[in-house]
Amino acid sequence: MSISVDNSELLRFTTAGSVDDGKSTLIGRMLYDSKSIFEDQYEKLKATTERRGEEGVNLALLTDGLRSEREQGITIDVAYRYFATPKRKFIIADTPGHIQYTRNMVTGASTANVALVLIDARNGVVEQTRRHAIIASLLQIPHLVVCVNKMDLVDYSEEAYEAIKEEFESFASKLDVVDVHFIPISALKGDNVVHRSDKTPWYDGPTLMYYLENVHIGSDHNLIDVRFPVQYVVRPNTDEHHDYRGYAGRIAGGVMKKGDEVMLLPSGFTTKVAKIDTFDGELEQAFPPMSVTVLLEDDLDLSRGDMIVRVNNQPEVTQDMEVMMCWFSDRPLQPRGKYTIMHTTQEARCVVKEIRYKLDINTLHRDLEDNDIRMNDIARVVLRTTKPLFVDEYRKNRITGSIILIDEGTNNTVGAGMII
């Protein structure tokens, strides 16, 4: 069969920028130049552009979603876009850049491999640029690309570009970001987006698309510490599979192998992996983010929320934790407040024991006095849970290091936390 998908990886990236930095135009440009725009979409765009009395085809309108947003002319939610090249498939989490949408940026950033930060070459690093970089670092997005956009409006000047690069680098040195890359582009004209520009001979790096197609994402998952949160117990109870008892879930970390000595949490019992089962047959080993079903040698009773780990490599088992919390609700975070907490496949209740400080996400300043945590604020808080959770630091593992809080009255998700 002539279907070659074997080497095509999935890359998720977020985009953030201030209003008018050219984010929508850039996404439109990537979709258009990679031939991911369909004719009927293009025709609609052209018609809408004309109706608005604008010239040409406004690529920005492509990424424009719901009716209310269309009316206001801004993006207020996270919208997901898809495109593919022969090398990779891409998922864009397109998020708005305003401070009042910090929560949307955090949401988009939570699963991203790459954060794409846009800077208007005429304005340089502004408050929003810093905020986006801080969010990318808090959420531990492994790779950051800074696109210096609208190079056409500064005559493709190397000095302008270098000045912005330097300014960003000096600020980013205070952040926890490992891999930062800079690209001079014009989203409107297409320079260095998909096609290399002849107007920036001084730039010898890759185009944005080349970067996205080739950045190494293989080690973005934790492959060291085996973590298998039990999600669902498979018990067919048929004649054929009478004694089958499989623990279904998604590998959250490490490489699990058949025959491994494992420990079960919270019981602390040890046993061996008898079989790693899937619909397509048994596997010798499994790694993130695979969904599999694990069978154990001994007949021990595990249920949803329990975790399978290696005997000599365990997460912290604790009821007390400190997290960086991004608040999502219009009702402020309640000191001493009680919430439902979700962590991997576990659920418990928790109480907010202390608010350590509020983080100014434009400056990284820590305000120890400010306990008023409102929507879009980020704060360091101490939580105590009703039962032990099996946690890792977020920087070690984004899956076993993250939690959400749920309001017990409204059932809404009100906070997202990264364990420190």
């Binding site: 898809y82 998952h221 619909f279 969904s291 984004r398 059932n411």
Partner: protein
């Protein structure tokens, strides 16, 4: 050793995770089965998710009575093969009982009526999660849809007030009487679906492959000649090689001229096509926000 999954395996794993999450978090889920390739993919993924057990929820088909006949035969075979229960909600019955009123006129379709029948079936069955095969790449109102989409007691979607979804933590909490729509294949594109169905050798209804059929053209879309759609005098029937890219009602699903008689040929065609698959659905052409308006009311 290379610890990378290719994009199809990663999507598969994500969808299986969501399906298991639904089985774990909800008491009474149901899988909305339209008979199309996306629902067929969903049943295939569900089979994988609960292997070697059976799929732990029934399928619900809202039958407009205007199906491609091939689709119904296929559905019944599939249900038998999977050993799952099938619930059929009939639009015809709802019309006969006076619960809904049939649209009349030139572009009449039973699409809108499905909403009422669906909500009625969800209520009757006391289902608290309805799994759907919608994808975010299909239409722009869907680009912001969550995996777990909360619906109020009237089954309505409030796009402004969606719960944030982070990492792989899905909040399925709800008040009594509310339910969720869950979309496990949100992140798949049309091409992903075809590629995956091909590498997995998943059987599909014959209408997806190019075949000879009597068709006529209306508003730039080719419709299959059928007993439910009265033709205008100038609309001439001709025989052509065509296939379906999506499969809904015969009255509003366009067919495409195509010679693609194999999955490989379909993939070739999809990867070079320049029109979205929904470009051929007259229900979406009604207005720029047609999908968003229907979704708010409780459409799939």
């Amino acid at each position: 050793m290379n610890y990378n999954l290719n994009h199809l395996r990663e999507l598969e794993s994500e969808s299986i995770f969501i399906l298991r999450e639904v089985a774990a978090q909800f008491e009474n889920p149901v899988l909305m089965f339209s008979g199309g390739k996306d629902s067929i993919l969903m049943t295939h993924l569900a089979q994988k998710a609960f292997h070697p057990g059976r799929i732990p929820f029934p399928l619900l088909h809202i039958d407009t009575g205007h199906n491609f006949p091939e689709a119904i035969t296929f559905r019944d075979d599939l249900v038998e093969r999977l050993g799952v229960r099938l619930i059929v909600g009939s639009v015809q019955e709802a019309i006969d009982k006076g619960m809904v009123v049939e649209e009349t006129g030139y572009n009449a379709s039973r699409n809108g009526l499905q909403i009422a029948v669906l909500l009625d079936e969800l209520e009757k069955g006391k289902f608290d999660a309805a799994l759907g095969g919608a994808r975010r790449d299909e239409e722009k109102a869907r680009a912001k849809e969550r995996f777990f989409s909360h619906r109020d007691e009237f089954g309505q979607w409030d796009p402004k007030n969606q719960r944030p979804e982070l990492w792989n933590l899905f909040n399925g909490k709800k008040q009594y009487g509310e339910h969720f729509r869950v979309f496990p294949i949100s992140n798949w594109t049309e091409l992903d679906v075809w590629q995956y169905l091909a590498i997995e050798n998943v059987p599909l209804p014959s209408v997806y492959y190019a075949h000879k059929r009597e068709v006529f053209e209306r508003d730039g879309i080719l419709l299959a000649e059928n007993e439910f759609t009265p033709r205008r005098p100038e609309e001439e029937v001709k025989e052509m090689m065509v296939r379906c890219r999506t499969m809904g009602d015969m009255t509003c699903t366009g067919v495409w001229p195509s010679d693609a008689t194999t999955l490989e040929a379909i993939i070739q065609e999809v990867s070079t096509t320049r029109v979205t698959e929904r470009g051929a659905r007259s229900d979406d052409k009604r207005s720029e926000t047609a999908m968003e308006d229907r979704k708010k009311k409780g459409y799939f």
